[in-house]
Symmetry: C2
Subunit: 209 residues, 2 copies
């Protein structure tokens, strides 16, 4: 029997979009349960007890009712959905190399590129704290470095790992393709721009909104 | 023929230690090539071209000479070494759940707990930039939250995932067991303290220094 998947998400979040895009490419149905993170809906006692003690979305729910299991962390959820498919390479080194880019995404990319989008586009610079404002420039620089590394990597290849799209492309695509909202000039990165177009042309592709 | 592994590392780095601990538990020999990150030895043209364009250690080198392959990102390197062993659960959900904690480690744990150790213990508070100083308190709070989540999780179980040690334990152990150097009072977290002892008692355990 096919598993029933429910995504606990905020549609504005790139981390949630990764999972929707993975499911779309795999042709897996995904029920959506929406939360407004700006209104604190993922910090309620019900959410913390029943869905994710870390108070964050996305969370992939597998099954329903009392036997449901909950998987936080966007990249782990993508992994769960994609196991056994071509989105995870069969070769051992390529598989670890894909995880390399997925960890890079959470460490070097998301905290800079997604955070500046969230701060500047959704919260607004005027509403930031002093500590946040002091972080704009360091995050700008670190985000540019991450994009530069990606651009050089894509200079000689179509996809991050191997000869086809993998989870590495999907998870890096999510916040890269909306990075303009955080003030990053993606058009300056020629190879990234071509790769964004390549991802959006894949059969089964689903846009963020 | 067994693969030859070389770890490009700085012995003070918890991210490097994760890989050494994984290799030790698996009984895999690991040659060490040491760099001083404080002296910029991972930012030289040779390192950027030949080992890791991201200018960071650890990097796991697989093989030697012209056919050598290089794997950055500590958690991806641990994954590569451990594939096929009991350090990665055989169950699909447990495997993704292990990755969940590994992504948590790189997103919620390391940037707070490892960074404060690096800043306060190795660089020294007096030598920090203004932007770094403004980050001490936010990182202190976020680090405490990460430790609180871990402590509550360990209240009802011995290991992060399933019934035995996995990579989730190894990668979280690396910076948790030296978190005092960043000003975190680990003794206040009863369940973490018991778990640290449990990890250090595992057969094949190797200490950081």
């Amino acid at each position: 029997m096919a598993e029933v998947f429910t995504l606990h998400e905020d549609p504005r979040s790139g981390n949630c979009y990764k999972i929707r895009l993975t499911a779309a490419l795999l042709g897996l149905p995904l029920a959506l349960r929406r939360y407004d993170i700006m209104a604190g809906e993922t910090r309620t006692p019900e959410f913390l007890t029943g869905v994710n003690a870390n108070g964050r979305i996305p969370v992939l729910q597998i099954g329903t009712g009392k036997t449901a299991r909950y998987l936080p962390e966007s990249n782990a959820a993508c992994w769960y959905l994609a196991e056994g498919s071509a989105l995870i390479p069969a070769d051992r080194f390529a598989r670890a190399d894909m995880l390399r880019w997925m960890f890079f995404e959470q460490y070097n990319h998301e905290p800079n590129i997604a955070t500046l989008r969230f701060w500047l586009h959704f919260i607004g610079e005027a509403n930031l704290s002093e500590a946040q404002r002091a972080q704009i420039m360091p995050k700008r620089i670190a985000g540019q470095e991450a994009l530069g590394l990606m651009d050089r990597h894509l200079e000689t290849r179509d996809w991050f790992v191997g000869d086809g799209i993998t989870l590495a492309d999907i998870v890096l695509y999510a916040y890269t393709h909306v990075a303009e909202a955080g003030g990053f000039a993606i058009g300056d990165f020629t190879h990234i721009s071509a790769w964004l177009h390549r991802v959006a042309s894949i059969e089964g592709y689903q846009s963020m909104d």
